[in-house]
């Protein structure tokens, strides 16, 4: 694809686009902009001059997989919300409504790509094979992370809005350098018959609220300055807690990419097929050295911002009803059924799998162990630190003062086999 036909917001229109955009205009109070959509809310598949080719790569198995992922993560979301309501989690950040944006984009990534999420990307985590129960460690208050990003190339959640966006660009700059070093090594040793490392890119997620943060701007400047292989994936779910996106931007967020000099694409974020196609294109674009891309997935946060939020205080239920009609799962189900790609037995199995996942997550959450604060002493610094050592020593002495003596204890004391593991780490 040459520079003269970079995907941007300049796309052919379909009737479905027109309808969606008219609704967008009504909601955002700004002129509607072109948006990539392949799968309409009624389950019919449209065409796009650029992205239909990517959609054509999807067979029935992959499409069923998209549906299964979306259904699983929605079931997970329901379960986690219930766990929070029952006091098992300190907080939960629901994603219902954004399943297509997350599954469609996450499934477009390759294992060698690196993903920087914000804190709502549970669906993307699923696509990266993160154990979903691990996600709950942070929300249960037993960890500030919970998984090793090196295992899945899925970074830890970031709670400071947009702080992860420059990290993504820096990581992408690192990939660039690695590729140069590898090329130089091959050139220096032409006889070596080593397999080439697959080209990689970085994808970073943030929301329409985070798009107001300065770090998004600075990271896009850096990405453009160094032509970094990074895809900015903005889920415009329309609400930054109680502030609507119309307050935060006068133009579609995807249009901002033009100001930085790289492609910006607005895609129907409730259309898993279009999201997948657009993201696959963008990641290929980045991996091939053509620089960054901004994707705005136009979607909707059906529920609350977090379980501490009450959206009935700031938005009309009619708006939610409007978006429920564009549900990402419903429309893919309609398509799969209409095409004969899935039947009742399939959907029953998906539901059963979801229930099984929910049961697993519930049990695992109950079983999450409270960590020993000594691990926090151990992980503040990599190398030995005298202040940490001094305060740990004080803590040990102080704690020892509370140890029960045998005559005061109801149970005979016995050595804790874990003591050696949880003792002074360094």
């Amino acid at each position: 694809m040459g520079a003269t036909h970079l995907p941007s917001t300049e796309f052919d229109q379909t009737a479905a686009d027109d309808q969606l955009e008219a609704e967008a205009e009504a909601q955002l109070g700004s002129p509607a902009e072109p948006m990539v959509q392949l799968l309409a809310p009624d389950g019919t598949l449209g065409t796009d001059p650029v992205f239909s080719a990517y959609a054509d790569r999807l067979d029935g198995k992959k499409l069923r997989g998209f549906y299964a992922d979306m259904a699983k993560i929605r079931r997970f979301d329901v379960e986690a919300t219930a766990l929070q309501r029952q006091g098992q989690l300190a907080l939960w950040v629901p994603l219902t409504g954004q399943e297509a944006a997350q599954i469609g984009s996450g499934r477009a990534s390759q294992p060698q790509d690196y993903i920087f999420p914000t804190y709502r990307e549970h669906g993307v985590a699923l696509t990266r094979n993160v154990d979903l129960a691990e996600l709950l460690r942070q929300f249960r208050g037993v960890s500030n992370g919970g998984w090793n990003p090196k295992d899945t190339n899925f970074h830890l959640y970031t709670l400071v809005l947009a702080a992860q966006t420059p990290h993504a660009v820096g990581y992408a700059m690192g990939i660039q350098r690695d590729q140069k070093l590898a090329a130089a090594a091959v050139a220096a040793d032409a006889a070596a018959d080593r397999p080439a490392e697959p080209k990689a890119a970085v994808m970073v997620y943030f929301g329409d609220g985070a798009s107001s943060e300065g770090d998004v701007h600075e990271s896009m400047v850096f990405a453009a300055s160094y032509n970094a292989p990074v895809v900015f994936f903005c889920q415009n779910n329309h609400w930054a807690i109680s502030v609507p996106s119309s307050v935060q931007t006068r133009i579609p967020l995807s249009n901002r990419a033009k100001g930085y000099g790289f492609p910006g694409i607005r895609v129907d974020g409730n259309d898993a097929i279009a999201v997948h196609a657009v993201t696959e294109w963008a990641l290929e674009h980045a991996r091939e050295g053509n620089g960054p891309v901004l994707i705005e997935a136009f979607t909707y946060r059906v529920g609350a911002h977090t379980t501490a939020d009450d959206p009935t205080k700031y938005r009309e239920s009619a708006e939610e009803t409007l978006w429920r009609a564009k549900d990402p799962l419903d429309r893919l189900e309609k398509y799969l059924r209409a095409q004969g790609l899935a039947d009742d037995a399939y959907f029953d199995q998906v539901k059963a799998d979801g229930d099984e996942l929910a049961a697993y997550v519930r049990k695992t959450t109950y079983d999450l162990e409270t960590p020993d604060i000594r691990t926090a002493f151990a992980n503040t610094y990599v190398e030995a630190h005298p202040l940490v050592a001094e305060e740990l020593a004080w803590f040990e002495e102080y704690s020892a003062g509370f140890a029960e003596t045998p005559e005061h204890s109801a149970e005979p004391s016995s050595p804790d086999p874990d003591d050696a593991a949880t003792g002074v780490a360094r």
């Binding site: 420059p166 990290h167 820096g170 850096f222 300055s225 503040t380």
Partner: protein
Amino acid sequence: MTTMTIAKAINEGLRATLDNNPRTLLMGEDIGALGGVYRVTDGLLAEFGADRVVDTPLAESGIIGTAIGLALRGYLPVCEIQFDGFVFPGFNQITTQLAKMHARSNGSLTVPVVVRIPYGGGIGSIEHHSESPEALFAHTAGLRIITPSNAHDAYWMIRQAVECQDPVIVFEPKRRYWLKGEVNTDSPGASADPFKAHVLREGTDATVVAYGPLVPVALAAADAAAEDGHSIEVIDLRSISPIDFDTVTASAKKTGRLVVAHEAPTFGGIGGEIAARISERAFLSLEAPVIRVGGFHMPYPVAKVEEDYLPDIDRILEALDRSLAY
């Protein structure tokens, strides 16, 4: 041994680091063709190329944030912040991200980023060019903070900072950039541990602890006090986080009197932390309360009056007089 300025020593330290490790790179505004506003990176772009000496857009959060990403990918970025007062747009990235990434990941991730910040006053400049914000960073767990006061330390500290697996902020005393000293580039000698304080001058009557730009002032004050018959011990703290309390405690116990001097405002500063710790550790050995000498509780004043703001020899001598009067 070679004689060079502190600025040149840092330049040589950076050169050695770039030479030794292909995964080291420098990042900052104007550090390439210009060689930095203080020319600390002079010549390095020509020698190592634009991929290793990266002239960045003017965006401190972007510099620190992308450095974190590069470190996560296995690189060793050394960031230059042009002036102390301009670090604050990057403060969020340093304190909420850089400092906490290792802890947040339960030890699975390391971000060995170095941030170089020219700091302190005495150069007759305008607003935001002469500040001493070290206490704001020292309060954040996860960061290490060192500051050289001489060329030999300047050469080795930058190399040691890059080798450290933790994030390190190197506060460089900008008004001492042109201070010359002997540098042994073959061996750090006593400077092998950048987090250890150095006793620069032995004494018996009182101790003055200082760091960075005030170290020469403290030494001069000790010389002046000697003319009045007072034997003053002088300690170069070198590391602001962690602080080598063992060395300071030993000295305080020996002399019984302690004065802590820094350019930063006294209130909430490093001097207060030292005073509190030494009071706990050496209370029964102290003949006088620990006395702090520092800047006033005001924004760094305009250059025409900065001489009244900055602790000088007389301010340290006045503090010593008060201490010795107990």
